[in-house]
Symmetry: C2
Subunit: 209 residues, 2 copies
């Protein structure tokens, strides 16, 4: 965690790499953790809740690191004033992750069944589970090769293989038959997704160009 000499004397105008990386990671975690928190409650899933708690703790660590980096980067009042902006975004990201943690605490403390999952699944965007069938078009290719999100509008939040979840998968993640995908998107998107998983077709062929 100790900054290198190079980092320590880097000018803030040069966009210190570590601050940038940490803040970008915090933004990504803040987006993922909100999805996962709602998913944990909707599917009453302790493993997803566990990941939310892990990410919440991870976010605390990131916030600590970014404070450290910012303080080391600030060498004038002007620097410091501008760096408070970064710390404010970091604090906001941490508040979001704490709120996500509050949501999954529900799984331990209160009997919210049967109505909370049904209410939460009623938003504009839905969270869906999908099991990849035999001979699916999706299987044995990566998320990027399949272009799942651009082809169907459904975002893959997590993938379960056997007993293991992989959360916030990147484009290099392979999909295999029998995987269970946690998806976010509209009802329409899910219909497209199901068709796409069978055939690789994304939409009906009513070309209206």
């Amino acid at each position: 965690m100790k900054p290198t000499e190079q980092e320590k004397f880097e000018e803030i105008e040069y966009e210190p790499q570590s601050v940038r990386q940490i803040l970008t990671r915090m933004k990504d975690v803040a987006e993922l953790i909100v999805d996962l928190a709602y998913s944990a409650v909707i599917f009453d899933d302790d493993e997803i809740a566990e990941e939310v708690r892990y990410l919440e703790a991870h976010m605390d660590t990131l916030n600590y690191k970014i404070r450290l980096s910012c303080m080391l980067a600030a060498r004038s009042v002007d620097d410091a004033e501008r760096l408070t902006g970064i710390l404010q975004v970091a604090a906001a990201a941490e508040h979001m992750s704490n709120a996500a943690g509050d949501i999954v605490d529900l799984l331990d403390t209160v009997d919210t069944r049967p109505f909370l999952p049904r209410i939460l699944s009623g938003g504009v965007e839905k969270i869906k589970l999908f099991r990849v069938p035999e001979d699916s078009h999706l299987a044995e290719a990566t998320l990027a090769e399949n272009e799942v999100e651009t082809a169907t509008g459904m975002r893959v939040i997590a993938i379960r293989r056997g007993e293991r979840w992989s959360f916030g998968p990147d484009g290099d993640q392979r999909i295999e038959t029998e995987d269970t995908l946690l998806l976010r998107g509209t009802d329409d998107g899910f219909e497209h997704f199901k068709r796409f998983s069978r055939t690789g077709e994304t939409r009906d062929r009513h070309d209206d160009t």
Copy 2:
């Protein structure tokens, strides 16, 4: 705001409509407001920031209303215990919106240029502005008819027409030439989107079925 007799005596087991509607709305606002807050900073846009502040205040109102509805709905200890779950989700949604408000406060208080927008635009998902050109495939149809999100994976967060923004548009929203769209998605998705807006084609024709 006064509850009707019917609402007042509704059993919690019947899923009181108003609590359901309020909580669903809070979840939708919590998702939208996070996107808008990052957008406001990335594009240094006071109008988007203004919408974030409006939604933040709206969220406070929703939280007040849902507390009221829950208290009126609880008629036993069991009811009350389960309803605390709803209030916990509502409080979490409000924390997220407060955090979003903290982010847009940056536009007023600190000079975060030039590096904060660049850092924030570096996440996995990007926020992009797109101006709908003449003779675009998108124009004169609704979002649902165009199936923008399912076809390209890009989510339309907001639409600007002339001087007016429309935030969190639904499927019935028409797109016209010269509209400016605020989009969220991956770089790949944005490439698909640009092609789609010209031709209505969503992907290259390398059919791998």
